[in-house]
């Protein structure tokens, strides 16, 4: 029987049928011809005659090909061959690709979930950090044209205050003499005791210039703002924050015009400000109300008393540089005019936004870079998985190509699958970010402005979408190109064995692993350095023992307790009651505990030491404390004694206790006990104070910087300064005493607010919250990176072992020992890791430089960190290589050989 299929096929060449359709037609027609041939033969024709007669069936004026072409072409009814379609549209293709891609992903759930998880980690971390960056760095401040707003400081760098709070007289002169601003306003923080209806409350607030809210461009939501005539002593008006209005006044609009009792004085509520007003200031300071600044004439003349914050709005068209230049001139003028107070005092003009962002910016940028790296590693991992999978899908690809799929269409199909993965990863990442942000918010240090507005908004969603799509391209392109580029012939020749598994594909995968190791090494180093710094910080000696200390603020009303004679009995009674509480070991009163306040410093004059010129005076932090303070805080007394009841209020018996550093500065090598000093200078008025004790330096204002000189005065010997804090050393969990402490105070005065009840340990932790935040996050990201890299190493080696089963089998058949196979495989992994380490080492040396400002007590090239991290990475890599290697040793030579 002759074979007619060739004849039929030759006539179908130009029809452009799909292979499946063509095969069906050839089969059907050849059957027809064979039957006809048999019939002709049975009529007595010779075989050749029969063959020729039969072939005439294919001859016709209507050629089979053209006829079929007309029938078959308009809408192909052939079965779906992905990539084989001709007349379909892009959109149709896309739908098809999507459906097919989804099917492929569902068919290998393990692959899909690993890939989606890796991507979700990468994208989720990016989304979370970006939403923080978005809120803190990118969102405009809630003021009109916020870019025009600047904050102006006095520059007293030579005294250790590069950004000093301006004095009232200087502020007023700046306001009068500058021309580049459309408005300049000052403010000063102030605490208010709100009494009357309900529990007494201590509130953060500010005295502000009447024009402050005009400068900021914020209108009250209710009532009116301050008028110029309000800015005079005795105006007694107050603006409420939205939060206070809602919480304390039940959002009652009738509060306007009503009196409220602030610090024992009646003030009239004139307006309520809109929500979201935040002014730069101290950590933990949340403005709840505002009163006019209302300088008294005495206050307005003060040039040496620095306590204001100044905000100004640049006129339209005035550049920051111009504003700075003018303020320099103004400050120079004032320095010449008032050398006594202003010698070498300049002015610093900064964008308000930068002031808000503060020192968190470098940390956030480092974190953003870190999560970018994590995402890159995740991409490399998924790309690796896809490459290995593409290798495993050789047969499918070969089949599709054989069935007439074109390569660009195949590439598109693969990219569509990657995109699907990326979008799934993006969705899962978004979910992770939602959950993660809730956790993250707990670790965001207090005082980072706009931390409350951290959320996943449209911009964050857009960012996530973009990185998801970009991610899909990044990890999808290489496998897609590889898949489409592979040679059909080779694959067929190799009998369907993996073409991408050896040679080029393997090289790409190796490179990806090397890159992963390098990038995770950089991240690990970064995290290691930060954690190292953090440990250094936590090991800093604060100068006191923070455990088992309960602290509280008791801000006394100036009306009720205007002077020492009223204050002392009140404080004594509180102490008596608190000390009697069970679980209390000791208690003391102080003005501003360590790490809760940034101010209170003065110049001093020391008997027998010539006063330095004004620009070389040394600033001394002072605190008003009572007897028992050092014992309660466990600040070691190095010399002399504590304050005691013999220290009377008579000026002649005024005493002072100084810090080690102060003693060494003024009386090096001498006994400081018995020496005398006074505030201001030796020629200033006021009593001399005799040094009775020397205590260890305490990290008073700033936890991180080395302690400055300090001195302690007895509040019993201070007329003006009222102490405001209570500190209690307990034998039990300090916070468990919070309620009893409050009741003890209220038993003495039911109107006395007790606020900021906190453990000292928490306060100390808060002082390093930023460092903890960055170290913790970078640590998490680096761990994720390490895990991803480990998975990458594991994946590549597992795949390679699976591919080399035959080779390993032969080696073992030829007498290779299991240990040799183990070593060979592990070495293969370690070679990649080693290369990655070398690359990472170089990159880390370069990249960790950006972290200088985040590090403490650690250099960016800390050898211990570099060494430790290298070891860690090697150990993890060893583990990741060991598992596949162990599998390789279990290869049974016979099975391996037979398998091929």
């Amino acid at each position: 029987m002759p074979d007619f299929r060739g004849e039929i096929r030759s006539r179908l060449v130009d029809v452009g049928l799909s292979a499946v359709r063509e095969n069906a037609i050839v089969e059907e027609l050849s059957q027809h011809l064979e039957q006809e041939y048999a019939r002709v033969l049975s009529h007595g024709a010779s075989e050749e005659e029969a063959r020729l007669t039969t072939l005439e069936e294919l001859q016709n004026p209507d050629l089979l090909g053209p006829e079929l072409k007309r029938v078959e072409s308009p809408v192909a009814q052939s079965p779906v061959v992905l990539g084989g379609g001709r007349a379909t549209t892009m959109i149709g293709d896309l739908g098809q690709d999507l459906r097919y891609g989804l099917r492929m992903l569902l068919r290998s759930p393990a692959f899909t979930s690993i890939a989606v998880l890796a991507l979700a980690l990468g994208i989720g971390a990016n989304t979370a950090i970006f939403s923080v960056v978005n809120a803190v760095l990118l969102q405009p401040l809630p003021f009109r044209n916020p870019d025009q707003l600047v904050i102006i400081w006095e520059n007293a760098t030579h005294l250790g205050f590069p950004k000093n709070t301006p004095s009232p007289a200087n502020f007023l002169d700046w306001q009068r003499q500058s021309t580049v601003f459309s408005g300049m306003a000052a403010m000063a923080p102030k605490n208010f005791n709100l009494t009357g209806s309900g529990e007494p409350e201590r509130l953060d607030g500010r005295r502000v210039s009447a024009n402050l809210f005009d400068v900021l461009g914020v209108q009250p939501r209710l009532g009116r703002g301050f008028l110029p005539q309000d800015d005079t002593p005795g105006a007694h008006v107050v603006l409420l924050s939205n939060g206070l209005w809602q919480r304390r006044f039940g959002a009652d609009p009738r509060v306007i015009g009503q009196p409220v009792n602030l610090n024992g004085e009646s003030c009239t509520v004139i307006g309520v400000m809109p929500p979201g007003i935040q002014l730069p200031g101290f950590d933990n300071w949340q403005d709840q109300l505002w009163v006019p600044l209302a300088f008294s004439s005495e206050e307005a003349a003060q040039r040496g008393n620095h306590f204001l914050e100044v905000i100004a709005r640049r006129k339209p068209g005035v550049a920051l540089q111009q504003a700075r230049a003018e303020m320099d001139t103004v400050a120079a003028q004032l320095a010449k005019q008032y050398p006594e107070e202003n010698l070498r005092i300049g002015a610093v003009v900064n964008q308000l936004r930068d002031e808000f962002v503060g020192d968190i910016r470098p940390a956030l940028l480092v974190l953003l870079g870190a999560v970018g790296f994590v995402l890159l590693i995740a991409c490399a991992n998924v790309a690796n998985l896809l490459l290995a999978r593409a290798a495993a899908r050789q047969k499918e690809i070969a089949l599709r190509l054989a069935l007439g799929a074109n390569r660009s269409r195949l590439t598109r199909q693969f990219l569509t699958e990657s995109m699907l993965l990326a979008l799934l990863g993006g969705a899962a990442g978004l979910f992770l970010a939602f959950v993660g942000l809730d956790v993250l918010k707990h670790f965001i240090p207090d005082g980072i402005s706009q931390a409350d507005s951290i959320m996943i908004d449209a911009r964050v969603l857009g960012f996530t979408a973009i990185i998801a799509i970009a991610t899909g391209f990044v990890f999808g392109l290489a496998p897609a190109l590889q898949a489409s580029r592979f040679s059909l012939n080779e694959t067929l020749k190799e009998g369907g064995r993996d073409a991408a598994g050896g040679g080029k594909g393997a090289r790409v995968r190796d490179l990806l692993v090397i890159a992963e190791v390098a990038v995770s090494f950089v991240l690990l180093i970064g995290a290691g350095l930060l954690i190292n710094s953090f440990v250094h910080l936590r090991n800093l000696d604060p100068g006191f023992r923070p455990d088992h200390l309960l602290t509280a603020k008791i801000e006394m009303s100036e009306l009720k307790y205007p002077d020492r004679e009223h204050r002392l009995p009140f404080l004594d009674e509180i102490l008596r009651r608190v000390r009697a509480l069970p679980g209390v070991q000791s208690a003391a009163i102080a003005g501003n505990l360590p790490l809760t306040y940034n101010g209170d410093s003065m110049y001093i004059g020391v008997e027998g030491v010539p006063d330095p010129p004004p620009d070389q005076q040394m600033d001394v932090i002072y605190r008003a404390v009572g007897p028992g303070y050092f014992n309660t805080m466990q600040i070691p007394l190095l010399q002399g004694r504590d304050f005691n009841d013999q220290d009377t209020t008579a000026e002649t018996s005024y005493k002072v206790i100084v810090s080690e550093k102060l003693a060494q500065h003024f009386w090096p090598g001498k006994n400081p006990i018995g020496k005398r000093l006074k505030s201001g200078s030796t020629t200033a008025e006021g009593p001399w104070r005799e040094v009775v004790g020397v205590v260890k330096d305490v990290r008073q204002n700033d936890f991180i910087a080395p302690p400055k000189m300090q001195m302690y005065l007895s509040y019993r010997q201070l007329k003006a300064l009222a102490p405001n804090a209570l500190v209690v050393r307990t034998t039990i969990d300090p916070l468990s005493l919070a309620g009893e402490l409050r009741n003890a105070v209220w038993a003495v005065d039911k109107d006395q607010p007790v606020s900021n009840i906190d453990s000292m340990e928490h306060i100390v932790a808060g002082a390093v919250a930023r460092q903890r935040f960055t170290a913790l996050l970078l640590g998490i990201f680096a761990t994720v990176a390490l895990l991803l890299a480990a998975v990458g190493i594991y994946g590549v080696l597992s795949y390679s072992v699976a591919q080399r089963t035959r080779e390993i089998g032969i080696r073992m058949a030829l007498g290779a020992q299991r240990s040799e196979v183990l070593r060979m495989t592990v070495m293969q992994g370690l070679k990649l890791v080693g290369l990655g380490l070398v690359l990472g080492l170089g990159a880390a040396f370069l990249l960790t430089r950006v972290m200088v400002s985040l590090l403490f007590g650690t250099s960016t090239t800390d050898p211990l960190t570099f060494f430790g991290i290298s070891l860690l990475l090697l150990a993890v890599a060893l583990l990741a290589s060991f598992i596949p290697a162990l599998r390789a040793t279990r290869v049974d030579p016979m099975i391996a050989l037979r398998a091929q």
């Binding site: 037609i25 059907e28 027809h32 209507d62 050629l63 089979l64 006829e67 079929l68 029938v71 009814q77």
Partner: protein
């Protein structure tokens, strides 16, 4: 008769012929071709090159449906059966054809033998 006319005539009638042959039962292509030749006593004959494109066209119009069918001990073959739409069409074409033949007869005066 020119080849052109012959072709058109055949095509017009061929659809009717095929649909008619499939009325009783499914048949494969060779059988259809043979039956046309036999029943027309050799006057009408479709070779492979014209029969199959026709079958495929009818199939595409959803008048007939081909299906690969295996019978014990034989190679699988493609059998065509009439679809409901095909049955419909067959009835309509029959009427049309009869009207056409009647019209020719009226004009030409040809009578049935």
């Amino acid at each position: 008769m020119s080849a052109q006319l012959d072709r058109e005539l055949k095509k017009g009638s061929a659809e009717l012929l095929i649909l008619s042959l499939l009325q009783d039962r499914p048949r494969h292509g060779y059988e259809i071709g043979r039956l046309i030749e036999l029943r027309s006593r050799g006057a009408l004959r479709f070779n492979v090159a014209s029969l199959y494109p026709l079958l495929y066209r009818l199939e595409k119009r959803n008048w007939i449906r081909g299906r690969w069918t295996e019978k014990a001990g034989q190679r699988r073959r493609r059998y065509y059966r009439l679809t409901p739409a095909g049955k419909n069409m067959l009835a309509r074409q029959r009427v049309g054809w009869l009207e056409f033949v009647e019209a020719i007869r009226l004009i030409t005066g040809i009578k049935h033998a």
